[in-house]
């Protein structure tokens, strides 16, 4: 299953709903292009909803890290929402779980962004 990304705006936060696999090739490219496009449009608060992401490989992890640092460099914040157990475990193993701001509830996640 290839990856799909759709974006929506809620209270000054851009929520990106991702589904499928973030893996080397198409999945990683979709994520990279989506973030690049959002930053180009001036988005600062980005919430990646990974609830329907079934699988991430090392390339996908790399894209998440790259997205995080790109948004930070632009003075914004990138947070993760609704991690599946698989993705949660993977971020734990790679010690990235504490690097990312991981949220479990969408309304609270939206409130947590510092600048609107």
């Amino acid at each position: 299953m290839s990856m799909k990304a759709s974006t929506r705006q809620v209270d000054g936060v851009t929520i990106v709903d991702l589904s499928g696999r973030i893996t080397l090739g198409e999945g990683s490219v979709v994520l990279r292009d989506t973030i690049k496009d959002l930053l180009g449009k001036g988005a600062k608060n980005i919430l990646l909803n990974l609830g329907d992401v079934s699988y991430i490989d090392s390339s996908g992890i790399g894209e998440l890290v790259s997205a995080f640092t790109s948004v930070q460099r632009q003075g914004g914040e990138l947070k993760l929402l609704h991690l599946t157990k698989k993705v949660h475990d993977l971020l734990q193993i790679t010690k990235l779980y504490t690097v990312f701001d991981v949220q479990e509830d969408e309304p609270n996640a939206i409130k947590s962004f510092s600048v609107k």
Partner: protein, 139 residues
């Protein structure tokens, strides 16, 4: 197999099926499939550099209580000991360099062998409930 992303996906799928037949649970199957994916990516991209003239050899074996997967490329060779630790503070936010670390996290044994030319990596996972698995549990 050809040095393409299609080969990576095909190998991952084949191993997933074999791991299911061998009796691994879902978590273990995911780990095995991911390890094979990462090893295949290393072979296709870092080893053979997508060169259509170079092949990736994949061998799958279920033997004596173990699932043994061997992946060989024809690239310039890999020094696994020289790969930086992706958990080191300076490397944590790097975009790449986690593949072999993940393989080692999910498999019971990982061995590298130099080929002329290339690299061969052998991934071993003990089958739950097998004699080898019971020996491991009792030590």
């Amino acid at each position: 197999m050809e040095s393409t992303l299609e080969s990576v996906n095909k190998a991952e799928e084949m191993v997933g099926q074999l791991a299911k037949q061998a009796g691994f649970d879902e978590d273990a199957r995911d780990g095995i499939s991911m390890s094979v994916r990462e090893a295949m990516i290393n072979a296709v991209i870092h080893g053979n550099a997508y060169d259509p003239g170079k092949r990736v050899n994949l061998s799958l074996e279920q033997n004596n209580g173990e699932l043994i997967i061997t992946i060989g490329d024809e690239g310039k060779g890999l020094e696994p000991e020289e790969i930086p630790d992706p958990l080191a503070p300076d490397n944590l936010m790097k975009q790449s360099g986690r593949g072999i670390f993940l393989i080692r996290a999910f498999m019971d044994e990982v061995r590298f062998r130099k080929l002329e030319p290339g690299t061969e990596v052998t991934l071993i996972k003990r089958i739950p409930g097998s004699d080898l698995d019971r020996q491991e549990a009792s030590t």
